[in-house]
């Protein structure tokens, strides 16, 4: 079953070639960011320059398609270019949407955690601020204003609470599925205090706790699938 000659989908060796197949076009990078964002329990760093470049590429391509149509280019060519644009636009929309949905879910937690707040784009920060205002107002109108004085906070159960004990947080302990692009040795996935490092080879797929591989996801060494 060894095969080094197959290309692309033709390969039994797809796993071995996995790393070499990963090129670094923006289309690939966007796909990777989209997958990671969809599969990670918490919000990741906003890929600001990648989003910027992708949008520019989309715009450029749309202009090209416009010119094609004016010049009477063959409709088939035009529709193939359009399909290619559509695919990138989908990734971009889905990526941005996934992030907004995470902000909707964890807005209070993101707001009070500086490390997370700085992961948002400027527009996302604005969205988060307004979302928090909307939600706060709704909770106040519906519930909090009707409760006794010492129970009116949307962050603390009562004035006695020492910390913000009403804030929904992402479960970093949840299991995710990841795939390595290259050999990663001695991963400390075990928190039992015993030494059980894990070696991961290129193409290996593991179900692991997100927490145990979080730095590798953030540094781009490991992909969520």
């Amino acid at each position: 079953m060894e095969s080094g000659s197959d290309k692309g989908t033709g390969g039994f060796s797809a796993m071995d070639e996995y790393e070499t197949l990963i090129s670094t076009t923006d289309a690939d990078l966007l796909k990777r960011s989209w997958r990671n964002e969809k599969a990670a329990p918490e919000i990741l760093q906003f890929e600001s320059s990648l989003v910027q470049r992708s949008r520019e590429q989309i715009q450029l391509m749309e202009e090209t398609v416009g010119e094609f149509m004016q010049n009477g280019e063959d409709p088939l060519t035009v529709s193939l270019y359009q399909m290619d644009i559509d695919r990138t636009v989908f990734l971009l929309r889905s990526y941005l949407r996934t992030r907004l949905q995470k902000i909707e879910k964890f807005m209070f937690h993101i707001q009070k955690t500086a490390g997370l707040w700085s992961r948002l784009s400027r527009q996302e920060q604005k969205f988060a601020k307004r979302s928090i205002e909307d939600m706060k107002k709704h909770l106040e109108q519906s519930v909090l204003s009707k409760l006794p004085d010492r129970y009116k906070s949307h962050l603390k159960q009562s004035v006695i609470s020492e910390e913000d004990d009403m804030v929904t947080e992402p479960k970093l302990d949840s299991f995710v599925i990841c795939r390595s692009r290259k050999f990663l040795g001695g991963l400390p996935v075990d928190d039992s205090g015993e030494e059980n490092p894990l070696d991961m080879y290129a193409g290996d797929i593991y179900a692991l706790r997100y927490k145990s591989i979080k730095p590798l996801i953030e540094s781009g060494q490991l992909d969520l699938v």
């Binding site: 159960q157 004990d165 009403m166 804030v167 929904t168 947080e169 479960k171």
Partner: protein, 186 residues
């Protein structure tokens, strides 16, 4: 509390646990028979976990082990764990169990939970992937909330895969608006 808004956590906290008051309490009309609005020490009561826990931590009550973790259940789980009706005993068997161990430190309960899940997990897996739907209602009625969620997760992801393989419409009415109209072909 990271899961403040979690519906299952809230409902698990509502499960009743037996407790004995160690202190007298004034001004509560907790029980209908209690006309004096006072609870005397040594009163035996069943309290929802959310209340029992805080009173236990302040030594106002002493929480006892709920009946769903008693000797009889332990023996039944030991004998044929997969077919014990845990739901009727406590739909939040595992969640409540973990909370009780953390509160009173009885690790035999923790071990019971693990053993129960080991045997029942396998059964959930097999049923979720193989059983004809006509066979499952009885089995499903034995499952706790956590087990049901696992079963449903397996069922719905398999169903989603089958729907995709059959082909058909990719766009559908948004779930939030209700799905009165079945798509053609279903």
């Amino acid at each position: 509390m990271a899961n403040y808004y979690d519906i299952d956590d809230i409902l698990a906290d509502e499960e009743l646990v037996p407790a004995v008051f160690l202190e007298a309490v004034n001004g509560v009309g907790l029980f209908e028979s209690n006309e004096a609005n006072r609870i005397e020490p040594r009163s035996k009561v069943e309290l929802p976990f959310w209340l029992a826990q805080e009173l236990h931590l302040r030594q106002a009550v002493s929480v006892n082990i709920p009946p769903c973790f008693n000797k009889k259940t332990r023996e039944e789980i030991g004998a044929d764990g997969a077919h014990v009706d845990l739901r009727s005993r406590c739909s939040y068997f595992y969640e409540l169990g973990c909370k009780i161990v953390q509160l009173i430190g009885d690790k035999t309960i923790g071990s019971l939970l693990l053993v129960a899940f080991q045997t029942r997990y396998k059964e959930v897996l097999i049923k979720a992937h193989t059983a004809a739907s006509a066979l499952t209602p009885k089995f499903l009625s034995l499952l706790t909330k956590e087990e049901t969620k696992l079963y449903d997760a397996a069922k719905s992801s398999t169903a989603a895969f089958k729907t995709w393989r059959m082909g058909g419409p990719r766009f559908q009415k948004a779930a939030v608006l209700g799905r009165k109209r079945k798509p053609i072909g279903e």
